[in-house]
Structures are given as C-alpha cells and as structure tokens.
Amino acid sequence: MKLKQLESMLGQLQQFSNPKVELEQYPTGPHIASRMLYTAENSFGDVNNKIVADFGCGCGTLGAAASLMGAEQVIGIDIDSESLEIASLNAEDLELDINFIQCDIRNLVWRGPIVDTAVMNPPFGTRSKGADMDFLSVALKIASRAVYSLHKTSTREHVKRAALRDFGASSAELRFDVPRLYKFHKKREMDIAVDLWRFAPKTNQGN
C-alpha cells in the first residue's frame, strides 16, 4: 500500500467524541500514524505477516494502520470501554479484523514475547507522571522484534537512557522519516515536538 493511500484511509476513521482529559485522549493523526507504520514495514519489515500490538489503542488508528500494512494479527489494548467501542466500529468500517482487550497497560500480564511488534502513541504523563515510560517498559517485555513509540523531544536523553539501561532494550533509534513531527500536526506554536523511536528488545532466542 502506498503512503498516501494509507494516510487517506486512516483519515476516514472516527475519533473520540468526548475525549477524557485524565487519560490524555487525543487522536493519533493519519499523518503521523501512516508514517510510523510505513517506516516500520518498509525500513524494517516489522509489520507484514507479523503480530502487532497497539498499546493504548484509543480509537484504533495505529492498529488499523498496521492491519492495512499487512499485519497478520493485530491486538489493540486500551483502558477505556468507549474508545474500544469506537475502535471496533472503525475496524468494521475499514473491514479490518482486529483483536481488542480492555486493560490497564501497567497491569497487562502476557505469557511472553509472542507479539512481534508493539506500536504506540502513549500518554505523555501530563496527568500521571511518567506514563509513557510505563508503557515503554511493558512493550519491551512483550515484543520480540521491535517497539515503535512517540515521546516528547524534550525527554530524548531520558528516554534513551531508560530504555537501554532499565527496560532491556538492545537498541534505541531515533527516526527522522518525518521532519519535525508534532503530536497534533496543526497549531505548531502550541504543539508538542515528538520523536519517533524504534527500540529493539534483547532477545534470548533469535528473531
């Protein structure tokens, strides 16, 4: 699938009708979502025929992008039932087959690193401090190939250190495939500059 086509399809998705501020609910725009998954597949082969988990899936944009880029199975996980309802409808609208689980990511217990790739646009912790690092920590435990995540540019050094030193990542790469990524991609003066990261977990067995 071409990038423009992917972006256009994601633009059709329904978003939060009543976003909950305490959960930091805001849509992952089609611009950023399409580029994340397009990069993941075309630069690294992390999506096609793979098992992909969308952490904090919200209305399911990243999961839908993964599915459209050829993921064999996609699992969307979110704490909020209203978001999951919208995500289910979105999957139906695009005729995508996505598995959903309602769970607090910090309490997610998975049998092992069976998922290939985790993708996420995590809450940054404006409401509950360090939330994005909690998400990253869990993701690196359950993904066997790669974790793609967005973090504030202002926390760049901290993110790299935590991933490599504390969360078991074997590599932490910044992706500049989209120049000047912004969370909302509008209203640049008020927007938050974000980095797209690709982390690879340490694995005992080969990929």
Binding site: F100, Q102, V109, G112, G125, S128
Partner: protein, 168 residues
C-alpha cells in the same frame, strides 16, 4: 475474543503466581471465516501453549484438536487447518475468563475481555499516580473520626492511619 488472544493472556491479579491459562466460560460463540495462512501458523506453533489451546477450543465447542502435538504434524494440511480453525475462527463473544488461582471472573462482552482490576486486586503503589487508593483510607478515617472526635490535620491523620493499618 479468539483463542489466539486467550493463548497469551494471563490473570493479572496481584499475588497470583500462575494465572495462565484463564478458564473459559462460554455463553455465546461465533464462527468467522479467516483466510488460511499456513506459514504464519507454522511460525507461531512453537510459541503456542498447546494444552491451553485444546482446552480452550473444547470450551468453545470444538473438540477436533489432538491432545498432544509436535512440529512434525505441521506438514499435514489437515492438522494446520484444524489449528487455524481453533485459533483464529472461533470467537468468544459473550462469557467470562476465570483466573485459575483466585476464581475471579473477567467478563467478555462483544468479544472484548475486560481485564480491569478492582482496587483491592491491583498494585496500589506500583503506579506513579500520587493518590492512595481512596476507599480503604476513607473507611478507616471515618471510623477513626467517630471514635476520637478529634480534628486532626490531614498529614497527621495519614501517618496515624499507616500505623493503625500497617499499610504503607
């Protein structure tokens, strides 16, 4: 919820040593066709918990899987199609998943399992939020207030509560 998901999901209640696999109680099961992808199944097979899949399939009304399986069987298309059907085409739409240790039921509605924990089941101070779980505090505080009828500053009350309840 597919057995594919069930095969990876564990009970997340604090203190549970072995929360896998969750027992399935099926109220409504649907079958939805999925394209057969034998390569995907062959790659996935070594990562599966076979017994959990067999028992799960039986709970959803499908008893065709052999009790034991090894990788030599992956050469048989007939076997792969059974795995495909059990793992990907059966959906638990309504029902529950039960923690094997505590018996606690996690509901499944519209195919989505709800693994949210109640206050007393999850890590109270594992998360980074500053708030203590309010319910125990409130209960202890209100009974404390009744006993003593003292007006105490909040911080002193919390310290006293820690000593009384023994919880940090």
């Amino acid at each position: 919820m597919r057995l594919f998901t069930h095969n990876m999901l564990s009970s997340n209640i604090k203190g549970v040593a072995n929360g896998f696999p969750l027992r399935i109680e099926a109220e409504q099961v649907l079958e939805k066709q999925v394209d057969f992808n034998p390569d995907f199944l062959r790659n996935l097979f070594p990562k599966l918990e076979w017994k959990a899949l067999v028992d799960g399939a039986r709970a959803l009304g499908y008893a065709e899987l052999p009790e034991a399986a090894d990788s030599s069987m992956l050469e048989s298309e007939e076997f792969l199609r059974k795995v495909h059907h059990a793992l990907l085409e059966l959906h638990l739409e309504e029902g529950a998943l039960t923690c094997p240790e505590t018996g606690r039921k996690f509901p499944v509605n519209k195919g989505i399992p709800n693994m949210l924990l109640h206050e007393d089941e999850g890590p109270w101070f594992g998360s980074r939020s500053a708030q203590m779980q309010p319910s125990i505090l409130e209960m202890t505080f209100s009974s404390f207030k009744q006993e003593t009828s003292l007006q105490l500053p909040g911080s002193l009350v919390s310290q006293m509560l820690v000593r009384i309840t023994g919880k940090q």
